[in-house]
Structures are given as C-alpha cells and as structure tokens.
Subunit: 349 residues, 2 copies
Amino acid sequence: MTVAPRIAIDAMGGDDGLPVMIEGAARALGEDPALRFLLVGDEAALAAALSARPALAAATEIRAAADVIAGSDKPSQAIRRARTSSMGLAIDAVKGGAADAAVSGGNTGALMAMAKLALRTMSGIDRPALAALLPTLGDNDLVMLDLGANTECDANNLVEFAVMGAAYARAVMGLAAPRVRLLNIGVEELKGTDEVRDAAALLRGATDLPLRFDGFIEADRLGRGEADVIVSDGFTGNIALKSVEGTARFITDLLRRAFTSSLRSKAGFVLSRPAFHMLKTHLDPNNHNGAVFLGLNGVVVKSHGGADAGGVANAIGVAAKLVRADIARRIADDLAHFRAGPRTAVAAK
Amino acid sequence: MTVAPRIAIDAMGGDDGLPVMIEGAARALGEDPALRFLLVGDEAALAAALSARPALAAATEIRAAADVIAGSDKPSQAIRRARTSSMGLAIDAVKGGAADAAVSGGNTGALMAMAKLALRTMSGIDRPALAALLPTLGDNDLVMLDLGANTECDANNLVEFAVMGAAYARAVMGLAAPRVRLLNIGVEELKGTDEVRDAAALLRGATDLPLRFDGFIEADRLGRGEADVIVSDGFTGNIALKSVEGTARFITDLLRRAFTSSLRSKAGFVLSRPAFHMLKTHLDPNNHNGAVFLGLNGVVVKSHGGADAGGVANAIGVAAKLVRADIARRIADDLAHFRAGPRTAVAAK
C-alpha cells in the first residue's frame, strides 16, 4: 500500500486541456496533501502554470511531451505515438515505475489501447473492463462495468468483471461483501442471453468470494440502491449508461423549458433554487468522474473529456484510492480464490 | 381501410382489471365515436358495468371468458388457455374476423406467445417485434423497437424491424419518410457488433424504401428528436427503454426529496406547480401507452399493466390508427419493395 500515491497526469487531454488538469491537480492536492504528481505535456506551458502555484509545484515533476492525442485519432494511430504523446508517456510512467497511476481526460479508445499495450492484461484476466461510479438513491454509489471496452463477452468474461467490480467496490466504498448483480431483461432465471444465464450459474456457485451475488437486475432499477456492482458486456453497459445520461439531460432541458414558460414558474424556480442545487449536485457527472480500466497491471483512470476542475480532482482521488487499495493484487487474490473454489466443475461445462 | 375499427379488449388484464379497461374504452369512444368494441371477460361484471354506461353499451358486444391469465403465468402455460381466457379470446376474435385489433393490459410474454400462435407471423417476416412510442424534445414522438420480444437478432431481423418501425411511424405519425437509425455504442461505421454493422450496410443500400436511413445513434441521443424510428435487438432495446424509465423515476424521486427538504423549497414547489404539471404530462407513460406487436397477421396492442383510463384510451387509439392504416399490408408492401430493390446482392452475402 502506497501512502503517498504518485499520479501521472496527461496534462494535455480533455476538452479544456492544460488549465483544467492543473486546477484539478491543485484541488486534489488540497484535499489529499500526500499526493505527488508527474505532469506530462508541453514543458514551457506546464512550467509557467506551476510558477503561479508554489504548493502544487512542490509536489510535482514535469515530464515533457510534444505530441497530443486528438479525440478523432484512431486507437491504431495513437499507439504508434506511445513514446511521444502526453497520454502515452503518462502510461509509460506507470509502466516504468515512476508513477503509481495515470489519469487522462483524452480519447477513451486510444487510452484503452495504449494502456493495454504498455501495462498488459493481468495474469488470469481475459479482458480488461471499463468501470465507473453512478449515483443511487441508496447510501452508496454503484459500480457499473463494462461500459464499452468489450463489445461482446462470454460468461467467463462477465464473471471476471463481477470479481473486478467487487474488488473496486471494496476498495473505493469500503464494503466487505458488495452486492453484485448481472444486468438483464428480467429477473427470472430463464431470462436473457446464454452468456448472462451461464455467468449467473457460475456466480451462484462461487461461495468463497468476498461478494454476494444477488442474481439479475433490470435496467429500470439501476439507481435504486439495490446493488453495489452491476455487470454487463460493454455494448449493453454503454447503452444503459448513455440512456441514463441522456435521460437526465432530457429532463433537465424539459425542466428549464417548463420553468421559463411563465413569470409564476420563474418565481417558483428562484424560490426553489436550493432544491435544484441539491438535484444538480446529486446528478452532476463531475461528482462521479473517473472511469477505471480494471484488469491491467497498473491503475489507469479516464477523466471525462468535459470534466471541470472538481471532476478532474475527483478522478485523481479515485486513482489514489485504487493505488492505496492495491487494486490489482486484490483482484488477483479474489480470482485465485474463485478458481480454487468448488464451482470449477460448472466452469468447465 | 376500416372506417369503424372493431377493437377486442381483454377486459380482465392489467393491474386494475375491469374498471380501468371499461373507463378507458368509454374515453376512447368519446374521442372517436366510430369505434366498436368487443369486451372479453366476466360476463356478469361486464353487463353490470355497461348498464351504467348506455353510450358505451350501444357500441359494445360482450364475449364471456371465465379464465384470466395472471401476471405470473408462463407463456407456455398461457397458450393452453387460448380458448378460455379473456386474453386468448380477444386475440381469437381478431383471428376469426369478429374484431380488427386486440388490446390487453395483461402479461406481455403470454400475449406475445398467444398472438404469435393464433395470428402467425406475416409472410416475409422472420420475427415479430415489440414497438412503442417515446417522448422526445422534437416535434414528434419516437418509435422504438424491438423492446424485448427477441433477445438475439441477426442483421436481417434488424432490417425487418427498421421496415416495420418505419411503416408504424408513417401510420401513426403521418410521416412520409421516417428517419431511421440503428442503436449503437458509437456513430462511426466500425462501431458495434457484426449484426448492427451488417444491418447498416443493408439499409444504406436500400434506396427504394419509404424511409431515410441515417446511420447509428447513441443511447444518450434517444430523446433529442434526431430520429423517428430507432432499431435494436430486443435485449438492447429493453435495456435502453428501462434505463430511460428508471432514470425518469429516479429524478422525479430526487426532485420530490429536494422539494420537501425546506419550507422555502415547498413554497417554490407550490408556485412552480404548472411547470411540474407540464413536465409530468410530457413524461407520463400513460400519454405514450400502447406497445404494438409488429409483424403479425393482425393488430395486437399491449397496454401497460399499470396504465390508467387515459392510458388505456391511448392504447385503444393506437390500435384504431393501425387498423385504419392497414399496417400489415403496408409492411408487406415495403418488404416486397425492399426485397426487389438493388441491394439484394448485399443481402445475399
């Protein structure tokens, strides 16, 4: 367990680039003074930005990178620039041991491809997955995975995602035995695809894992606080997550339209501002920023491209928690338990 | 085209059963006096209910059914009661020609199984699909399908869904060439599963259909008015629809919590009531009630189990529109065009 996590930050990625990444790092340091940073990007611009922030400068090293991966770059193009780009060199710092984790707000596909290539998938894991935290009406956030790293998955992939997601929930939310469910179109045993049903059979048999498998969950129950980890293939998870995000925005737009429709409504809106503020805080994606690639030999966190400084600080905080929790070892231990457990016969079917 | 559609109603299905179905039929008749009904269910209870409603009674025949399909009945059990249950006999009336369409608020799986068995899939259609209307920020509602009838689909199934969904949008919304998109995890041509990419290739080649294929759409753009028809397999569509419904409810619950948090917020809420009413009307599932099984030799509409009388009237209105539009013939004509079109070579790949 690293008491002072060293976080490599791709300072050039994200919609607003360097200023928001710097401000995010400064905020993260304010909340967690033990952090150390490696800021990767335009050397002169970074030096100039740090000269105005002595506290951050004291906790930071600069690593120069001339090249920036654009949002439109294909992963296949990006990986050729692993040694020149700010994103590539941030990951490289984790690989080489100069940092414990990398954070980037850049191109997700490129980040995934470069991280896989540089850090390699953990032994025992078939495929890494992208996991994120979602708000719920319950006491805790919800870990959802995979959110788009793997378009198609078999039952064993889903089981590995369950194990990785549970390790994440234990690390970030401090739960002893997270409640895990598989996302499906019904809760009865016969519902869904072969992959989902087979994964459920494997998880029902796995009694020696630090998680509680509670069967299936339907997509209209995502935010009700009925699960700590929800597992799906990357296609389904991406559809569910984006449906949630789109609907939240849709309703916010409708509310805005409704509240500007009359003077009376406008007055009501002014009076209700604290209530709306509460709603906005709860739904603000910045408060849940920081998607994690689980299953790699190293911690890589994707900050949303449009995140503000608070969002970036949140993503850095997630990275620090995962480093302190030694997430890769936790996943490896859980998988070893799972594979040694009594349900190996089912897995071999 | 039937000027006076005859609608068979499963008067016993749905959470609130007979009273809400009767009240729904009465409202539908008030809006569309040409309608004629065949109410199927408990004969004595129906006669008693109609005696208090002379206008509805004059437009209605009763068909006695002693048996009711429960929400917990499996489709395989339900189909054995096709000749005794109110749901089965409502569908049978369509098959026998006594009615033009059937409406039920009962068990979806049972309704699908019975409707398929009695009415059979249209010639040229591999699999029927469940379609529904969703609200958007644009001028029109959105047709989404499949919402759960088919867990796994190949590219040809998706193309058939696109043709059926477009025919539905033309019939119900009066659009000449509905804008059709495939639901996917990105808009680039290479994104998604083989099935989705192959379906896109087929639809791009189909230039002689009364629809405009606009490529892929991501789930966060569902309600933005950028498409009239959105097509997916039944697993994905069900996940997307339920994510939307669940998020809408989640935010409503958060709003309620926020608005009861202080006296000031409560006052703001009272003042804002018209705005909330507007929001509620827009999001109320009753205003979009009536999911349709497309691809059968006959019109079968599923009313939501929890729909109120306005919702039931809406579902009856959807059934009447589809009858008047001669939906099955429209789909058959479009498919014939599609199959005769220049892209047969692509389809044969």
